[in-house]
Symmetry: C2
Subunit: 221 residues, 2 copies
DNA sequence: GTCTAATTTTAAGGAAAACAAATTTAGTTT
DNA sequence: AAACTAAATTTGTTTTCCTTAAAATTAGAC
């Protein structure tokens, strides 16, 4: 079965949304994710349901079928492998690769993506710390949590950040945060939920906003 | 100015056709090249003329404008660089890369293609021997001629073959012909215009058909 | 120079994917 | 239960690219 780029983007969006909140995905949230209008989404959901890649109940929302999930995981796999290529081989910065990977993920060639995987040394994570599904669609489950949920005094290692927001990535670059960076929470400001951190045990504090601290995923150390 | 994949394919087709025969390109030949119908071509020619990338005179044919040629050359550049990547880095055979490169050539990112060029070491020719336009659209002129025009007794070096026909490439692989191979013409069969050749001075003759000999480009040695 | 055949263009319409506007539904409030 | 509201769907267009059928034009044959 073949899927257009538009169909693939819908499946990917539904996949990402169902990762975030474990229930049915709403039409509006898909429209939001894809920068389109709910009317367009309704249209497409009918098509995708006919192709048996989603379970669609009108006015109720959608979930992916097994078939749909495996299509979505292949797209995610391609997107993340291409990001690794762009950063490791072509020396892009991590904030520059998302847009190009959005195009590359739709290239159709089963054997190319397997060869690319080999060429890259079978990476397990992309440059933003997100796990890369293997060719069977198996993907590591991230046990990480947002920095926002950390406790004052504790130290954490950055394992992942949102890859779709270049502005965030540029900001993180500027303050010296990347995958693997160790952060210690030195204070939590109750007033605006911002967090004061110490980066890589340097002799300097950095204040990060609530919004930022929710988009940095960390694990305990 | 932005171009859709369809528009890019038309420009590339017109470019290739005007390379072959130095005059105006006909609607039918474009339809043929793109596996579509003449009516579709007429439609698209109007669009491309409005965008000032072709000189279009109804019923007369088209030529590329300077603008059009530079767009076409960029697509050719991308196609051929990706072919180098697929063969050199991902270890594809030369008969397997055309289709995938047809998709990759439409990826939009100026900086990616320049970085890819650097990553590949600024190659001058693709795996089929075709010259790669540089970033300014300069391209080496092939002085080669079809093997079919060779003279009995003379030796020639293979510099290029048609990249779009996988069956031809597989055949050439089988008989041991690739870019750089030295061929000596030992006989020309008048009856069916086939040619008897000796490959790399081995102790063995090989008969190649008219069709094959017209699609292998060689230079004198 | 006219006629016919081949080529090219126009016209009408279909599929995919988008949008706005109008309508329907689900869930909540009273 | 009726009414309301927010979300979702339907309807009707639009755009892009393609197709078939018909009309127009060019060019080669006589």
């Amino acid at each position: 079965m073949d899927f257009s780029s538009a169909e693939e983007n819908y499946l990917k969006a539904i996949y990402h949304l169902s990762e975030q909140q474990k229930e049915e995905v709403s039409t509006n949230s898909i429209a939001d994710e894809l920068q389109t209008k709910p009317a367009s989404v309704s249209d497409m959901l009918k098509k995708l349901a006919a192709k048996k890649v989603i379970n669609y109940v009108k006015y109720k929302g959608v979930t992916l079928t097994d078939k749909g999930r495996s299509v979505a995981l292949l797209i995610v796999r391609k997107h993340r492998l291409w990001e690794v290529f762009l950063v490791e081989k072509l020396k892009f910065n991590w904030d520059e690769v998302h847009e190009v990977a959005e195009q590359l993920e739709h290239i159709k060639s089963r054997s190319m993506i397997e060869r690319l995987d080999m060429f890259l040394g079978f990476p397990k994570f992309d440059p933003h710390g997100d796990p890369i599904p293997d060719k069977n669609g198996n993907i590591a489950v991230l046990t990480a949590k947002p920095l926002a949920e950390g406790i004052t005094g504790n130290s954490y290692k950055v394992v992942s950040v949102s890859d779709s927001d270049a502005a965030l990535l540029q900001y993180l670059d500027k303050v010296g945060i990347s995958i693997g960076t160790v952060l210690q929470i030195t204070d939590k400001i109750v007033y605006d939920s911002s967090i004061e951190i110490n980066i890589d045990n340097q002799n300097r504090q950095q204040l990060v906003s609530k919004m930022v601290s929710e988009n940095i995923l960390v694990v305990d150390i």
